[in-house]
Point group: C2
Chain length 425, copies 2
């Protein structure tokens, strides 16, 4: 342990202050969710509700003494100066935009937890060699403008500012016009200068930590994502008068594909493959008509890029079999593909060591979902801290819940990591 | 051959007059169908378009000398007197209501062909012992008020007048209020007095006659119909973060059922079983969410009631397996069940003999779809004449088409059968 680590080893964040911040931000964009009969959160990126969220949080940053600036895509950067401000900063952060039916934790824990880190360092008058910057990334969810991790991807240089501004929502409103309307285009250029390190704390959004009784997840990376949209064309026919041999059912073809995907996952031939048919639309969708068309989506995940590509190829080969067997045609479009991200050993090791020193049970875990950290990993040593969620880690749902202690555990680990990296020369 | 048969043996209907009537009625309720880029027909039962169709056709009946009356459910009966009007009539007929995306032949061929029979008998001054009555049955399609063969079922006594009047459409408008609004409630009581015979000519609505090059189908009956609606409840989950073992996908469960049904059909274990999953709705229907719910419909058909019941029971047994395997719950509701109808040997024999005498190639064929004749078979000797349709017999679609000659062949057979039965003492 370094001297700096020893100095902050006993520092702990204020669990109640963090919880109060999460609760207050959770009121912005709140709505009554009829299905769960709970209050949910709806702050679609760059909507008035999202901006109201920023108007609540950014003054908190300023009150904590941070120097707030914006980059060209509206990402917020709030700086706590270090002893040597010529050095690249350590960045911590996440997002406060949400899906349409969100809870209070997704993204917000990373941002408000980052703020709690700053407040705690201020309270304890801890100084660091490097500056620490707190980031709010624009449009992480991707559900308004169709591309997730948009702000961090522009910051990291994977997507150009021009392309990002041109993206439009379902009403044809562009990212650029919304950035301009809300006055969010700042001076800082994109891509940004690489930070020294990037660390993000996030809820797991899955059941693994809760099921195993773990308090901290040491995130090893983000698995690869590959999405297909399959359009299956059969032939409409009367379900009473058409002999079986003359049927070309798009629903049967789509069902064969769905069952095959389950067999592929359970075969073990593709490692830790996951596959989901989440959308299943058919036409004309009537009880007594053989379906002429079906559109299904396939969501593949795999930590291993080779295995996900092989699964994708084998899916398409099986589609040819189904074409033959059912007398249908199947066209496939890849609608998303991000290769796997591996986080950095030094960050994973640090997260793990802090958790162990603090007596927090932990395990290494691959992230099933995409995160801003996945973008930042392209330009600097990056890692993540996961905290467990209740109810099998349900997320993107008003039932999303992590306990005050679970949130505080994650942010205490985040604080130690931030200080450690901010004191590295 | 009887003396009466010999007298009418050389009588033929006027193919062009029949075609002109079909064409003129096809203009009523015509609409442009964007999918096929053809003009289609939309005369939902008891709609203004359906009534406009009746206002075109009923004056034709009167001009042909028929005495027009209505029963309590709006079925039209138009009588050509016989030599002995104390005898039960021979009834021929069908319907002129249509589905939302119809062609010009379904039902209309039976009604306008029946009119052509009357016109032809008039032209040739053919008298019959019994009266011949022409029927237009109310709401055969069932797509507005949810119960098909409604008018003939009330006439035959399977459904009560009170229950039929109480049925409502999607806007809450009742059959009774529509009958009253259009002034269609007549004096003739329901159930009706049993006719001597009932014979109906209809397009096949399937590919069998066309594929085999047959000009006439001798209909042996209507196969049993059994519909299930399965509601499958799984659990919504993030498709990236939820391990496979913790998924409860309603789409996978529904797909397993769909594939199993195909295996059951192809096994041959259930005779001439047909099965169709036509509706497949899922929720939330998003690419990266494991589906929490699926609703699918199963349309079973089988000429054999025992076999269709066995298939239904085996489906439910398989659903229990799927519940276990996928960790879902499946509830099942039977939404339709009509046992098979067998038509009468004497009518089948007569249709077959006429076709053979006229040199028309023919085969016996089970009807895959329900027809008004299926209801009338409960109260009198009944049969049907099928004519082939083009394009695999596509129906309920603007592409529905039978040639002028195919229509005339069927109606020539219908005429001979009607005269034969109308001369039976």
């Amino acid at each position: 342990m370094t001297i700096e680590q020893q100095r902050t080893e006993t520092v702990r964040i204020d669990q109640e202050r963090l919880w109060a911040s999460l609760t207050e931000l959770g009121e912005v964009g709140a709505y009554f969710d009829a299905e769960t009969e709970l209050m949910g959160v709806r702050r679609l990126a760059l909507s008035d509700e999202d901006i109201a969220g920023r108007h609540l949080v950014v003054p908190w940053f300023e009150k904590a003494g941070l120097e707030v600036s914006f980059d060209r895509i509206g990402n917020v950067r709030a700086r706590r100066p270090g002893l040597d401000n010529t050095l690249a900063p350590v960045v911590i952060g996440s997002h406060i935009d949400s899906v349409a039916t969100a809870g209070r934790f997704d993204g917000c824990l990373g941002v408000l937890g980052g703020l709690e880190v700053i407040r705690t360092l201020n309270d304890h008058q801890v100084e660091t060699l490097r500056p620490i910057e707190l980031a709010i990334w624009t449009e992480e969810e991707g559900c308004r403008f169709g591309t997730d991790m948009l702000g961090s991807a522009v910051a990291a240089g994977r997507i150009s500012e021009v392309d990002a501004r041109a993206l439009t929502d379902a009403q044809g409103i562009s990212v650029g016009s919304e950035l301009d309307r809300h006055g969010l285009v700042g001076d800082r250029p994109v891509p940004v200068a690489p930070p020294a390190h990037y660390v993000e704390c996030h809820i797991e959004q899955g059941p693994i930590l809760e099921a195993g009784g773990y308090e901290i997840g040491v995130v090893t990376g983000v698995q690869a994502i590959l999405w297909h949209r399959l359009t299956i064309r059969g032939r409409a026919a009367h379900a009473g008068t058409t002999p079986d041999a003359l049927r070309h059912s798009a629903v049967l073809a789509a069902s064969l594909v769905t069952v095959k995907l389950d067999e592929m996952v359970k075969s073990g031939d593709y490692g830790a493959l996951l596959a989901n048919v989440g959308r299943f639309d058919t036409s004309p969708n009537l009880v007594n008509i053989v379906a002429s068309e079906a559109i299904i989506t396939v969501d593949f995940r795999n930590p291993d890029e080779e295995a996900i590509q092989r699964a994708s190829a084998d899916l398409l080969a099986y589609c040819w079999e189904v074409e033959e067997r059912c007398g249908v045609t199947i066209s496939s479009e890849i609608t998303a593909h991000t290769p796997p991200v591996e986080f950095y050993d030094e960050v994973m090791d640090e997260v793990e060591q802090v958790a162990n020193r603090f007596g927090l049970s932990n395990r290494r875990i691959m992230s099933g979902a995409g995160h801003d950290a996945g973008e930042m990993a392209a330009i600097c040593p990056t890692g993540m801290v996961f905290v467990p969620g209740r109810y099998d880690g349900i997320s993107h749902n008003p039932r999303e819940y992590s306990t005050p202690k679970a949130c505080a555990d994650g942010i205490n680990v985040l604080l130690q990591c931030a200080v450690t990296f901010a004191n590295q020369e």
